[in-house]
């Protein structure tokens, strides 16, 4: 039952928060290292007014989405071509595979040399971290479409290129949406790296600023904000998935 799942999930989260709160209050650890959840929550509230938290969260979200959409818009068609046509796959996959293994942080200096410290660098790093992964994921999704579906389309007269839209796309769409949801999560990781290194706005910047003054509650509030945004996006994506692809469940 989905209701039961939600109840258990909420209960375990609350239990964890309670333990954390008690540990902090008991004085076992210094407040400077582990402030209580209530303190973090209070700080989060006051940062909305005092530190323009919502503005920074908005900026970060905007960066994540613009880079992600750009990467997805390029990766989906290219991935479909790579997965559908063997020569295209043979030509592109080695390159994609190589770049995919480069850790994004290692490319920060290069990116700053190329794009400076403005928006360009951030978007580029996020794009870099997701585009190549997504190409390979999409290519795999296309290849996993059952061959019977393609053959059924062929025998009712669908020409080759129409099978991309008749069969490949609808058959892979559910996994595609799932992969996009996961990839969007990675974007946040890369964004925070980018914002710590080169930014004067965004959640990564806020967290890093707070760290310089040893404001642990502020650091944690920033982290929690990212978590909340991530959780909300993820749940929304899952809800849409259930709604769009309800036909998959019996």
């Amino acid at each position: 039952m989905p209701g039961q799942k939600a109840i258990i999930g909420t209960a375990s989260t609350l239990a964890l928060l309670l333990v954390w709160e008690l540990v902090s209050r008991s004085g076992m650890v210094q407040d400077k290292f582990l402030p209580a959840p209530s303190t973090v929550l209070y700080t989060l509230g006051s940062m909305i007014y005092g530190r323009d938290l919502l503005y920074h969260a908005g900026i970060s979200t905007l960066r994540v989405w613009s880079a992600f959409l750009m990467a997805a818009a390029m990766a989906v068609p290219i991935g479909i071509l790579v997965g559908s046509f063997r020569p295209v796959g043979a030509a592109l996959e080695p390159i994609v595979d190589f770049i995919r293994y480069l850790p994004v942080p290692a490319l920060v200096p290069l990116s700053i040399i190329w794009f400076g410290v403005g928006e360009g660098t951030k978007i580029f790093l996020l794009w870099l971290g997701t585009f190549f992964q997504l190409v390979l994921l999409v290519a795999d999704d296309v290849r996993r479409v059952p061959v019977e579906y393609h053959e059924a389309a062929m025998t009712v007269g669908a020409p080759g290129w129409r099978r991309l839209t008749d069969v490949s796309l609808p058959a892979m769409l559910p996994t595609l949406v799932d992969n996009m949801r996961i990839t969007l999560g990675w974007c946040w990781t890369y964004l925070i790296i980018a914002e710590i290194v080169a930014a004067n706005s965004g959640l990564g910047f806020v967290i890093w600023q707070a760290r310089r003054f040893f404001q642990t509650p502020e650091v944690m509030a920033g982290v929690v904000t990212i978590g909340i945004i991530g959780l909300a996006t993820d749940q929304l994506a899952r809800a849409l998935h259930r709604r769009w692809f309800g036909y998959l469940t019996r």
Partner: protein, 258 residues
């Protein structure tokens, strides 16, 4: 000129010989049943006719023209369920007509209703394939293939998952469609009775690699028209027994091989 002919067709997968030099002529409007032990190469032969697999040597010809790629002239009902899960039952049937230019949109709608009725799925028109039974899903695939209006129907154990009543009804319907619309049908089955009842000619295969063990001309024996009463007649009974003997001999081959 023969309509559909297999000309010394062979098929190998790596070192495994699946079809030995195979020759067969199928007349236009004929229903030929393939009867043979599991794994002998029946599906492989069908896929080669459908253009989904190329022969290792020899060729399959339609009116003297070698068949190389799939097209709408040869419709295929697959052994595994192939209904598209993202389309409704009616959507799947309609997809069979997507590339037909000989029908107007209104005619296509009528045809969808007609074929849904034929396979007994009218009440499930708006249901998703994942939410109906396996036998029903197979009927969706049958309706989709019939809707495509192919000249040649390649049916790979299409009625295997159906209950006896539905199976008998669809056997009669298939026979009617074949006769009325002049369709040529190749029909794979494990069921001796089904082969005898449905086919003009039954080809019994040996174990792999597939060769023709026996060929039985059913129409010459019991005539072209088939009714349920015939199933109980002595002529049909003798025919069925004869086929059964052939099938048994493939089983004893198996013992010899061990």
């Amino acid at each position: 000129m023969t309509y559909l002919s297999f000309d010394t067709v062979t098929k190998r997968y790596g070192k495994t010989e699946v079809v030995q030099p195979f020759d067969l002529d199928v007349a236009e409007g004929e229903l030929v049943a393939f009867l043979g032990p599991s794994g002998c190469g029946k599906t492989t032969l069908m896929r080669m006719v459908g253009g989904l697999e190329a022969p290792s040597s020899g060729c399959i010809m339609l009116r003297g023209e070698a068949l190389t790629r799939p097209d709408r002239r040869r419709g295929m009902v697959f052994q595994s369920y192939s209904a598209f899960p993202w389309l409704t039952v009616a959507g799947n049937v309609a997809y069979g007509m997507r590339y037909r230019s000989d029908l107007s949109a209104a005619e296509k709608r009528d045809q969808v209703a007609h074929f849904l009725d034929l396979v007994g799925l009218t009440a499930f028109a708006d249901e998703w394939p994942n939410r109906i039974s396996g036998g029903m899903r197979q009927r969706v695939a049958i309706a989709r293939t019939l809707a495509a209006g192919s000249d040649i129907l390649l049916m790979d154990e299409p009625f295997g998952a159906l209950d006896a009543q539905r199976r008998e009804f669809l056997q009669l319907e298939l026979r009617r469609i074949q006769i009325d619309e002049g369709k040529t049908v190749i029909f794979v089955t494990h069921d001796v009775e089904e082969a005898a009842f449905l086919a003009d000619r039954v080809i019994v295969f040996t174990r792999r690699p597939a060769r023709i063990l026996a060929e039985v001309d059913v129409t010459a024996r019991i005539g072209a028209s088939r009714t349920l009463e015939m199933r109980e007649g002595s002529g049909f009974f003798a025919l069925r027994n004869e086929l059964l003997h052939h099938v048994r001999s493939t089983a004893s081959q198996e013992e010899d091989a061990v």
